[in-house]
Symmetry: C2
Subunit: 201 residues, 2 copies
Amino acid sequence: MFVTCLDLEGVLIPEIWINIAEYTKIENLKLTTRDEPDYDKLMKRRIKILNENDISLNQIQKIIKGMSPLPGSKEFLRWLHNYSEILILTDSFIEFAKPVVRALGDYTLFCHNLETDEEGKITNYSLRLQNMKKITTRKLKEMNFNVIAVGDSYNDIEMLKEADFGILFRPPKNVSEEFSQFPIVTEYLELKDQIKRILEI
Amino acid sequence: MFVTCLDLEGVLIPEIWINIAEYTKIENLKLTTRDEPDYDKLMKRRIKILNENDISLNQIQKIIKGMSPLPGSKEFLRWLHNYSEILILTDSFIEFAKPVVRALGDYTLFCHNLETDEEGKITNYSLRLQNMKKITTRKLKEMNFNVIAVGDSYNDIEMLKEADFGILFRPPKNVSEEFSQFPIVTEYLELKDQIKRILEI
């Protein structure tokens, strides 16, 4: 029996921080783990920038509400759900991810969460689980699931390695070059073909 | 962060085997674990009865297709999904459960599966995991989720015990008497109230 674990940003929806940066016109919010590899430092920096600019969680949620899933992602999930259970695994936060995941359907979302003060300002973030994507994949395998994992960037690699089948979806060049053991797809149609081959359908 | 694990039959949809028994007018298919506590013996007996009566998986799936979710269950899940992730855990089989779960929404289903021959006759069943409900609950807790479990009968008790919060939904009298440590609800409105109290909303 199959479970497919999918990364959210870049695979099913656009990058959330890029959208926030564009909407607020704050260039520094475009920084990613490629610019600051230490995720904790990066997140603390982002939170600092938001507070310096007086941007509350509520305002960010309004920006996110305006985001649409990537074209074709909803139909892809609907197709996939005929053959495999689906879990969406993201290192983002439920306060950001939940509304846009619900626009995709009633899928299950495993992620982290933010901390806010009384005024609705983001004060910190809380990781529910270190190495969440990898550990979730491992536990699914321990429950005798065959796991397909789909991701696009560095923080997905451990999940892809742990899964029975790992697929890179629209990875940046450095990721696809460094992890050439995984098949690379750029369209949902190709992703479907890869999954069909795995499922032998 | 919360995950709610819900049993399927009796909690969200009617009992599948009862429906099959009524539709096929085969009284013996109404037997449950209350009549035959050994699940393996019970399932082998059911499969034998189906084959003696020339009933294929395809025919059963047509019967199941005609089943509706319990009134109110869909709305309940939609409400719950605002506050908690949702997993549907059933000791039934994907070939039976999947179509009726999809009628509820795109929720994640953890279950077992059937084996069939070329003619589509059910030859055996395969448990993906022994004590699936309990083990899934335990692994979710290991992933730092707070787990609410909702079930109605004996095969849910270990899950309810393992969870942070266990709730009995419309249990038979012997179950509610034997496991009086769990709150008992008979309507979705009461179930919502119990969950609201747990989530402090």
